[in-house]
Symmetry: C2
Subunit: 349 residues, 2 copies
């Protein structure tokens, strides 16, 4: 890996609002992190006006014009065909591969981003498939939930790999020395769940992690575990259901408050409390999913993130770059490789 100062490559075209969000966010990140440099990839006509509006970028970033922007609803196959080598998304990831950047970030199309990341960076040795890890706000602070949409359907050993990667990520971004790890299931008793989940519990139990067993959906928000392991289908449904429920409740509350002048007055007095709630539930504050398991760091921002949301995602990219997350994961995987191999061998018998 390059030994110069931390450099983040950015796909400036990604997200619902593209450069009008990504470029001001990079400028903001430059102010907050004077030791970090940026590579900006995008279509000249769209990006240049925003760069010119932020003089700090002329000095702290390099702009690399590209021919193609991947659209938000494009299929991964089409994105790969059309965007190979020439798109801002591809080139931003390729900067990591070429050791010109420590991490790449995009608010673009998740499926395309994952497909390109796999093609460009390839999988980390010992990891079969990638996981998208999310930071989930809980009553006790924050937890890591993975996978939230990269890999549908997992084998027991893939769950185990996710546990190892999620634990490494929690150490880096949550600063927990020995994060507790749980498997998401429809019950906490040993007999509950699919065969593969029960098998995964056995394998993870053998790894010597701080594994605490099964957790149900309502245990995530209670902060019962630091790392919650699940497959991409279930994790994606859980994450979106939680986001939807949060939005539903705040809408219901706001409607109820608007319904009478008494409660409107109450709202004025209690505004600080509502602001605290709003802050704690702000999806922008915990923005920045990471694709784990690749030979290089790729961060996925929410497509709908605003400037502060995209800045948060950049900060995640900086943090994991500084911590050298991939080296930690590789080391952990090596440490547990023997255990995993034994588990695989046993299961093949």
């Amino acid at each position: 890996m390059l030994n110069k100062r931390i450099t983040i490559s950015v796909d400036a075209m990604g997200g619902d609002l593209g450069p009008s969000v990504t470029i001001p966010a990079i400028a903001k990140a430059c102010e907050l992190h004077p030791d970090v440099a940026f590579l900006i990839f995008g279509i000249e006509a769209d990006v240049r006006p925003f760069i010119n509006a932020h003089p700090i970028l002329l000095e702290r970033s390099e702009f690399i014009p590209c021919d193609i922007a991947i659209t938000m609803d494009e299929k991964p196959g089409s994105a790969l065909r059309r965007g190979r080598k020439v798109s801002s998304m591809w080139q931003s990831i390729d900067a990591v591969k070429a050791d010109n950047a420590h991490a790449s970030i995009s608010a673009g199309n998740t499926g395309a981003l994952m497909a390109m990341s796999k093609v460009v960076l390839r999988m980390n040795q010992g990891i079969e498939r990638p996981a998208l890890a999310a930071i989930w706000p809980t009553l006790r602070g924050e937890s890591i939930v993975l996978d939230v949409g990269a890999t549908i359907g997992c084998s027991a050993s893939q769950y185990a790999q996710f546990a190892i990667m999620g634990r490494a990520y929690a150490r880096v971004v949550l600063g927990i020395a020995d994060p507790s790890v749980a498997l998401l299931n429809l019950g906490v008793e040993d007999m509950k769940g699919t065969d593969v989940i029960k098998e995964a519990a056995e394998v993870i139990g053998e790894l010597g992690l701080n594994y605490i067993g099964f957790i149900e959906g309502d245990g995530i928000g209670r902060g019962e575990a630091d790392v919650i392991v699940t497959d991409g289908f279930t994790g994606n449904v859980a994450l979106k259901t939680a986001e939807g429920t949060a939005r539903q409740i705040t809408t219901m509350l706001s409607d109820a408050i608007k319904a009478s002048w008494m409660s409107r007055i109450g709202y004025i007095f209690a505004r600080s409390a509502f602001n605290v709630l709003k802050e704690r539930l702000d999806p922008n504050a915990s923005n920045g999913g990471i694709f784990l398991g690749l030979n290089g760091v790729v961060i996925k921002s929410h497509g709908g993130a605003d400037v502060s949301g995209f800045t948060s995602a950049i900060e995640v990219a900086i943090e994991v770059s500084k911590a050298k997350i991939n080296q930690i994961i590789s080391r952990d995987i090596d440490d547990m490789q023997i255990v995993l191999e034994n588990a695989w061998a046993e299961r093949l018998e």
Copy 2:
């Protein structure tokens, strides 16, 4: 089916608090529904004192003493061995089988209740496996989500059967003439999801229902569909994650309000708004899951339901009994049998 007045059989021993909740709830239901009779199953020493405390029950219910109560953490296999014929749970379900009751209700152990219901009542013709359907409060009213924990892993035709059953249930309990039906997935585009989900979408699309396609987790709370079809693993995680998120947000809000005297004053003024929210989020208000697909109606109450919660579940039992839900499902299944059989045949080729 018996032609006399609506009769509900109750496993009085189920739930975290047993007869101290179930018996007062039956008494309450007697008051609310003068046309309904009850069969009460339970252990004499535990149940009798509560029955004696509610004179209305002496006239409107019959008490049948049993020898065994199934515990909340008992494994289904053990419950079946120990509780066969002699437990309050078994006998309450058996009353439906024997045409002595229109529906059976229990707040007991879900796994045991499902196992016993399958053994006693057997599956409805044309239905391979049962589904537990929940009523989910949304921004637009209420939706039906199924399965939330009965069947883990579904074939395409099982998803289709769930769609037909969920639609029938929505017509009965939500009073919607032609409910919209959606499949829960990790994206709304056709290409998203597992192979079996995509296949299920094809089969359901051929049934001539008001099928609107895929829905993501956050679409449930928005009320995007009247019936949301999923398998028991994903549905259970989604339901519990939503419950957990609701509890998390109300806890955060309450903590934030307690943090300053200004917001405490605000709370007093806005109390009516908070009460509205509390009411709309009260799990007791939408209590009463139903096992669909059996030759008879079995209702599952939350184990932690209070008297008003268990009363709500009894009311669901009464409602579906009056509407003859199983006849509706059987008719719908017959109507769509040809389509389903074609779909199966095609898939077997």
